[in-house]
Amino acid sequence: MRRQRRSMKLLALILGLSLVAAACGGDDDDEGAEGDETAEENEGVQGGEFIDLGTFSQGPPEHLDPGINTTSDGHQVNGSLYDGLAETDFSDPDNPETVGVVAESWDVNDDATEFVFHLREGLTFSDGEEVLPSSFVRAWERASEPDFAGDYSYLFTFIEGGAEKLDGTAETISGVEADDDEMTLTVTLAAPYANFAAVAGFQTFMPMPDDVDELTDQSEWERGIMVGNGPFMMEAPANDQEIVLVPNPEWDGTNYDEALGLPEQPFLDKLTFTIGTDIDTAYNAFEAGEGDMTDFAPGRYQEAQDNWATTIDTPFLGAYYFMFNDRDERVGGEENLLLRQAISQAIDREDINTDVYEGSRTTATGIAPPGIPGFEEGLCDYCGYDPEAAEAAFQEWQDAGNSLDGPLPIQFNADSGHEPVVQIIIDNLADIGLESVAEPIPPDDYFGQLADGACVFCRVGWLADYPTYDNFTFDIFGTEALDGNNYGYSNPEFDDLIAEAKATTDADEAGELFRQAEQILLNDDTGVVPINWYNGTRVYNGDKVANFVEEPTGHVLWETVSLKG
């Protein structure tokens, strides 16, 4: 029912707006082109309030606490409240580089099993408490407490003793040692991992002040004013209408690496995240001048590009794809490889990008997107639209005595804009004689149901946590993947190649190993069907906003955003 409402709504809205626009007549001013030009001038001034209508346009964040948050919307807030050991410098998007933030530098041993982070002195939280190595240990122990730990707590298994802490057999993570006098944080890993510094900059690893020690229930932290060490601090606890941030007077961006180009203080006086319930309403509110930025509304990509400044040209480190459940006898296993290859070749990805996303995304030729170190175009042998080959493969699969008892169910989170994609896939599969049916699942319970085995051929999306190849291989397709490997894909050869690549300090060699692993996933096993790679999704008022940068991970660098005078 909800799904139907959404499509009716979209159609009716377009019709309604067309009529109104026709009645109102030509007032199409040239804000778009003008906005694009002025956005590049970057003549921002100090002060002013920025209202973000898009980040929470469809509801409040599930979490804000960096220790347990899993969503990119929550990270927009906590990424401005906390600075971690390191972060990624995307100034050269093709070669993102991990640079120190709170950590001035780090040493890593030859076999990539021990990292020693040297922390900057004199950094403080917004309440004046000094940021020390023990602030990180406190945060990591907190985020790995079994009663509190979030989805990303599996990252602590990278550290020696992390797995034991998470399963309740150890009180602390044995592989972490803080020396506040020397300002060093020594991390011993459970297995060699050359990219650990990038992981250590992720939100789950943000430092925590000693205030958290006084809480009897750690989930209270995000319901109050979370004290952090980032460029902004909370003006008041978050409520269901807005989250308001103001500059943290204790923060000084010039303390950090010059490569990051940070200002002494954020330019904005106030950063307000408005919490909404509907992406179309948020877009209307943006067009009515009630805010400075929002997300693309479905079906209005081109209109947004014509009228406003956008981040559409920013390639995201993110992939949109469909997974096969390897444990499902209809599609899983070696005996169904031809069926999976047929499905992958039957799908017209260009059509999906043009019809559904108005060309705003990049058609995928693999899972790991451009910008990931080690990326190479065209790894997938079965991602091109080839209905003849698909039909032949499907026929061969049937000739071998295989058949589907009924239509192939395609699962997706309902009411989230995936209906037209699934419909194109259903039509494409029908063209090769394969009958399929849409199986929408309520969005709030989607991944829960997938975890319970609901996936047969199901939609998934992944946005990089940090720009490493293992984040697109190990974390989603490894036998020990995030969310407990909901789709059953497991191949020891794949796992071994990933483990070897993670332990390799030579970037070229690691890239080669990662690509070999991805090719097994895409070609030898065809466990996944990549559809497209994401691009930027923000629409902003270029006449008013300067220095608006959306990183390839989707995070906005709020400390550099300013308003024009």
Binding site: G16, V20, D27
Partner: protein, 335 residues
């Protein structure tokens, strides 16, 4: 009359019990495990140990009948509990959302009464005139347009376009949010507040206003043909008095019933309007609590809606006696 009101108030008790009990049991039939959601949301596999601790903490490991008994034991003391997800007290949520809903519903009903009755009345008096025909078409259209479409079109005309044309700030209506929350005498918007209220109130009122106009017209046409109307005219009363004092008052019984139902619905079920205008009311919060399996919020807010609905219906029934003095509430039929 007093005994009637007391009797009706007592009837509310079984109504509330049945409605909430039904909801309680339905909740556990829905897919999705509330304990898993509490333990960190749907999008993760929760450690079984954590799940057990959550179930114990919230009593979700008790047999369902025990949970049911505990729920009523708490509810009788008006202990509505805390939200499973935000841990916020349900009374606090109720206070915030119910007030927002009540204000929006009040203004929607004011629009409905003023516009609906006036249009219906004029349409009946000037039957088959151009105005009457236009009313028929417009009310049919208003009933047929989905609320969210009307909402978006109104946003476009009165908020987006004025911004493009650079109208003065006061003339630009707002598309979303509750605004500065400044009110006088509880429901009169002051300062900037009216700019936030007007579009959702009109949208919420649109369908019911159209229906009310149609019902007023039909009811008036029936009354205008009645013998006592001819009698009133023959007694020499002016047409204005005939229509307003004898006609309208007699035509009001079904109209008042509809207004009562609309008010109850506007308080608790204005989900689409609240969503379209991001108005933080009861309806959208109830829907969210169903999606998030937040049982205390769902039951607490539903309790308030059921009570409001029952109270409004009581007021409607009592008002019958005023509109039609032949109705004597609380009196049995005696030969």
């Amino acid at each position: 009359m007093t005994s009637y009101i007391i009797r009706r108030l007592l009837q509310i008790i079984p109504t509330v019990f049945v409605a909430l009990s039904f909801l309680f049991f339905i909740f556990f039939l829905l897919p999705g495990d509330p304990a898993r959601l509490i333990a960190g949301g749907a999008e993760r596999n929760v450690d079984p140990g954590v799940l057990e601790r959550v179930e114990a903490r919230y009593g979700l490991d008790d047999p369902i009948l025990t949970q049911f008994g505990n729920y009523w034991e708490r509810t009788i003391r008006w202990d509505l509990g805390d939200s499973f997800l935000t841990r916020e007290n349900v009374n606090d949520i109720l206070g915030e959302k119910a007030v927002a809903s009540l204000r929006l519903a009040t203004w929607a009903i004011i629009i409905e009464i003023v516009v609906g009755i006036a249009v219906g009345l004029l349409s009946a008096i000037r039957r088959y005139s151009i105005g009457d025909r236009l009313t028929t078409i417009l009310t049919a259209a208003a009933s047929a347009i989905p609320v969210f479409v009307l909402g978006f079109v109104l946003q476009y005309i009165f908020a987006v376009q004025p911004n493009k044309w650079d109208w003065p700030e006061w003339a630009r209506l707002r598309t979303s949010g509750i605004g500065p929350d400044t009110w006088t005498f509880f429901f009169i918007p002051t300062g900037e507040q009216w700019r936030y209220l007007i579009l959702p109130a009109i949208t919420l009122a649109s369908v019911t206003t159209a229906l009310l106009a149609r019902m007023t017209r039909g009811s008036m046409l029936e009354v205008l043909r009645a013998d006592y109307m001819r009698t009133a005219r023959s007694k020499g009363l002016g047409e204005r008095d005939v229509v307003l004092k004898h006609g309208l008052r007699n035509a009001m019984l079904p109209v008042v019933t509809l207004i009562g139902i609309d008010f109850g619905t506007a308080i608790g079920a204005a989900v689409l309007t609240e969503t379209t205008f991001n108005w933080p009311g009861l309806g959208s919060q109830i829907v969210n609590s169903v999606q998030q399996r937040d049982l205390p919020v769902l039951l607490g807010l539903t309790l308030a809606v059921v009570l409001a609905y029952a109270f409004v219906n009581l007021v409607v029934d009592v008002s019958y006696a005023w509109f039609d003095p032949r109705i004597r509430l609380g009196k049995g039929e005696h030969a």
